[in-house]
């Protein structure tokens, strides 16, 4: 199966650079603003889009993404509205891959078959579901593959060589390497260690490996991008949304520029990495 994700990483390989993968939360700070952010991200340098599905109890997320989810839920976000956002995005962009990321319960309650059908129809390319390890593949991973969606698995510093094959089986699109043991937005990973870990994963797979959790600045993104196929930036972008909100927490177009300005700087960092490495 070659989908938008495979095509995008093949293109980037030709260009000889890593991908900037952005994470923003669907419905944060409200539906309209989050869609405007989504639509503006590819032009600001996002190569792959991750869109968070808000959940009340995100057990792998730090305070920034927790708060983003709660802002979205407070503004009335739900799965149907998230799919509407994806459709809206797809109307203007048929090439940038879009991956939904979140936790299982809202999907389970929406209904797995209905979720997969609606996701595919809306133009979703892949899924990252934090609390579905390979041990629970029959829940969503296998049905998702059947429905033609990539199921992107997290590999972590605790995933040793013995376990890696288990994690990589049934994974497609790319592998998401969680650079730290910890929650999103926490301690910054050491670029050298990350590069070694990515190399270790690459000994087991030909899939692209993107690195996330804890990457916050352009310089940092650049250092990580030198040794990986992509860098995922989430907490920093979501934090930019929060900071753009006035004291009354009213959403405005300022949120869109806050996110795109940061994305542009991060993209420059990521794009500069290989050039710098070659020079």
């Amino acid at each position: 199966m070659t989908g938008r994700i495979d095509r995008r990483f093949a293109e980037l390989k030709k260009e000889g650079r890593a991908a900037l993968v952005t994470f923003t939360m669907a419905g944060d700070p409200d539906h309209a603003t989050s869609v405007a952010i989504l639509k503006a991200l590819p032009k600001a340098g996002a190569d792959v889009i991750e869109l968070g599905m808000p959940f009340t109890d995100p057990m792998a997320d730090g305070p920034a993404i927790q708060a983003a989810g709660l802002r979205a839920l407070k503004a009335g976000q739900n799965m149907k509205i998230t799919f509407a956002a994806v459709r809206d995005f797809r109307n203007g962009d048929d090439t940038t891959p879009l991956v939904l990321m979140g936790y299982y319960n809202p999907i389970y309650i929406y209904g797995v078959e209905r979720f997969l059908g609606d996701a595919k129809a809306a133009g979703v390319d892949g899924l990252i579901v934090v609390d579905l390890p390979p041990e629970e593949d029959s829940e969503l991973c296998l049905p998702a593959m059947k429905a033609g969606l990539n199921f992107i698995r997290l590999a972590t510093p605790t995933t040793d060589d013995k376990r890696l094959p288990t994690v990589l089986t049934n994974t497609s699109g790319f592998v998401y390497y969680v650079s730290i043991t910890g929650i999103t937005g926490a301690a910054a990973p050491d670029a050298e260690k990350v590069t070694a870990a990515v190399a270790r994963i690459k000994r087991h797979t030909t899939l692209p490996v993107c690195v996330g959790f804890g990457v916050r600045t352009a310089a940092h993104a650049r250092a990580i991008a030198a040794g990986a196929d992509g860098v995922v930036m989430g907490a920093a972008l979501v934090e930019a949304v929060r900071q753009s909100l006035g004291p009354d927490a009213k959403p405005s177009s300022a949120s869109v520029t806050a996110v795109t300005d940061l994305a542009r700087a991060l993209a420059a960092g990521v794009r500069g990495a290989r050039v710098a490495a070659r020079a």
Partner: protein, 406 residues
């Protein structure tokens, strides 16, 4: 629902940690290797005679087991029906059943070479038990507790501090038990090498629901022997309150295959089931996935978890252990609920009739005993798990009863 004819209700979980459709291992990949390591370590400990010997020694000399099975004569007379026995878990060291489980997990943590222990707590009894055993074995102890619970269970916060534990107030969500568990999981994901997560009830990913049940089952095993000794036969009914369900499962499990015995779990109905302000996941929830397992949960139509409400911090949780969900579906256990007001009434009544001040959690079970016992014949033997003592709740109760009097 009719009781399904199964050969045994005691064979679960399967190797994937499932009780029917419930249970499982819904955790982030970072935790998955740890969960598998724990499963292996527990399986080895379970069959190691030295582990059992060590457990038994501490249960006898440190915890003070067996806990008495006490005939509550005046409560029985008051109800004018079934003969009521109290399983006195409140007499254990630290004042609740929680210590049975914590002892097992701490001894296991030592075997695994983990020296940093984390726990979540609602009422603070599990936190106190964890802090106590960490003090006993010289382990670092961090307890996550919702900020609301820190406020309403101050005495236990002080006890934990006294025992050398660090209590971290959790400010996210409803600031109660669910949020404390989220925060403990976030800590575990961060400190994987050194840390053992000591879960306080039969929830979490496999093997926790099974392991905590096994450690708590001493309650039911003792009850079988003690009732035989007292009455020459087994009881006719069992009843216990349900937070996550560990004290209840501890009492129930050894009796699940005695099909004539009626078994009742009592959830917290808070302000009343109809108000939506309650913590009764079986009565008011449906199956979903949270904190590592599939089980009945309180949630909205989008699968977002609702906040639970109960006067009792230990029952203030929007879920229930997966094995209870299964026992509900197959019809082996009947789930009832008691409101805040019913629990308060039972709290005061048991104190006056028996000279035993119960915790607010088992006061919910006592509240339903008052109804059930009255309808049973005089030769019906009923056992209620008195899971903890009420010292920690005196502030809360005096505030509520005081405001009613005014």
């Amino acid at each position: 629902m009719t009781v399904q004819q199964l050969n045994s209700f005691r064979t679960g979980p399967d190797e994937h940690g499932h009780f029917g459709i419930y249970g499982g291992r819904f955790v982030a990949e970072t935790l998955m290797p740890l969960v598998l390591e724990l499963e292996k370590a527990y399986a080895a400990a379970k069959v190691d005679p030295n582990f059992k010997k060590e457990m038994d020694g501490y249960l006898t000399h440190y915890v003070g087991r067996p806990s008495p099975l006490y005939f509550a004569e005046r409560l029985t007379r008051h109800c004018n029906g079934a003969k009521i026995y109290l399983k006195r878990e409140e007499l254990n060291h630290t004042g609740a059943h929680k210590v049975n489980n914590v002892l097992g997990q701490i001894l296991l943590a030592r075997r695994m070479g983990k020296n940093r222990i984390i726990a979540e707590t609602g009422a603070g009894m599990h936190g106190v038990a964890t802090a106590t055993l960490c003090a006993r074995f010289g382990l670092e102890c961090i307890v996550y507790m919702g900020a609301v619970d820190v406020e309403r269970q101050k005495a236990n916060v002080f006890r934990m501090n006294m025992l050398g534990a660090k209590v971290v107030p959790v400010e996210s969500g409803a600031k109660t038990l669910k949020d404390a568990m989220n925060e403990a999981l976030r800590d575990w994901v961060t400190n994987v090498e050194s840390t053992f997560y000591c879960i306080g009830t039969i929830a979490g990913p496999h093997p926790y629901p099974m392991m905590v049940r096994d450690f708590q089952s001493i309650i039911g095993r003792e009850t079988r022997e003690q009732m035989q000794a007292a009455e020459g036969r087994l009881p006719d009914s069992l009843i216990a309150c349900i937070g996550g369900g560990s004290n209840a499962m501890g009492l129930f499990h050894p009796f699940l295959d005695d099909n004539d015995i009626e078994i009742y779990g009592v959830e917290a109905a808070g302000h009343g089931l109809k108000t939506g302000m309650h913590a009764a996941s079986i009565a008011g929830g449906r199956p979903g996935v949270l904190h590592g397992n599939r089980t009945y949960l309180l949630m909205n139509e989008d699968g977002q978890i609702n906040e639970a409400h109960s006067i009792s911090a230990g029952l203030d949780y929007p879920g229930i252990g997966p094995e209870h969900s299964w026992l509900h579906d197959v019809g082996r256990v009947t789930f009832l609920s008691a409101t805040d007001d019913e629990a308060l009434h039972a709290f005061a009544l048991l104190s006056k009739l028996e000279g035993i001040i119960p915790a607010l959690e088992p006061a919910h079970a006592i509240a339903k005993v008052l109804e059930l016992a009255a309808r049973k014949p005089k030769d019906h033997l009923m056992v209620v798990n008195l899971s903890g003592r009420g010292d920690k709740d005196l502030d809360t109760v005096s505030r509520h009863l005081g405001s009613k009097a005014r």
